[in-house]
Assembly symmetry: C2
Homo-oligomer: 130 residues x 2
DNA sequence: ATATATGCTGGAGCTTACTCCATGTCAAGG
DNA sequence: CCTTGACATGGAGTAAGCTCCAGCATATAT
């Protein structure tokens, strides 16, 4: 079972142009039929889903391409792929820490804004009293 | 006390060009001296530090510009700024959830890679035995 | 036989966030 | 007086990640 680029685009939520762009960039290489049209398989779907995970965690296409190269090269590259994923894991952890820290600061800022709004309202109602 | 753009760039870690770019984009408006040169103050330093926090949490310049507009407009915009920060807070939370979820999947993948490496090594040593 | 839909390629164009460059001004030091 | 250094402006260039388009091929429906 295989899908045309139009169908596959719909299934993955990517645009046709994006799929062709990913191919140009070396992320995915679907088979071609006798008319040179792309035929995406279930395997391609799994692979795209994984690419999207990597993208969601801000991996640049350059690096995904490197992973793709290893993947297409076959089983002998397992260790290299593992290393790549482990380093990406560390990157995600750092990213999460950064977000967490910034969230903390933001919360302080939000609290102080709330406070100053309350004070402003107090001042207003005092003015009305007079 | 105020700083020239060169000194301020060094202090903030931003390049001179970036500082001018931020001004062009409406993020920050330092005073000028009698020769039209930029003079950054302590207040600008606080403001830049906050801008950098927003950037670190992936707020686009377009949106930081909106916050800047409100800030430069004065105290009457407190509520709007609060609202903007609260919606950004929600954005950060979603971002963190996304990362967490992807981290989970990545860990599964890493575990399975480790497993298949172990099995591969077993197969190898069995081959050597023969 | 022809119209329509879908796909192909190569290349231009777009957005974001800078970064670099040519040209010019001005104050201070030698 | 003249050079040097820091700064000014306007505009071009860059990298990433798409997005769009012209021009052509092919298959299916009418």
């Amino acid at each position: 079972m295989s899908y045309s680029i139009g169908v596959f685009a719909e299934q993955t939520g990517l645009s046709i142009d994006t799929l062709r762009y990913y191919e140009k960039e070396g992320l995915i290489f679907p088979q071609r039929d006798e008319n040179n049209r792309r035929m995406y398989t279930e395997n391609d779907k799994t692979w795209i889903a994984f690419i999207l995970r990597l993208k969601e965690t801000a991996m640049p296409i350059r690096q995904i391409k490197e992973y793709a190269r290893l993947r297409y090269a076959g089983d002998s590259t397992t260790k290299e792929r593992l290393a790549l994923l482990q380093s990406h894991r560390a990157f995600i952890l750092k990213e999460m820490e950064r977000l967490e820290e910034n969230l903390g600061h933001l919360d302080v800022k939000i609290a102080s804004y709330k406070q100053s709004i309350i004070e402003h309202e107090k001042a207003d109602s005092a003015a009305v009293q007079r």
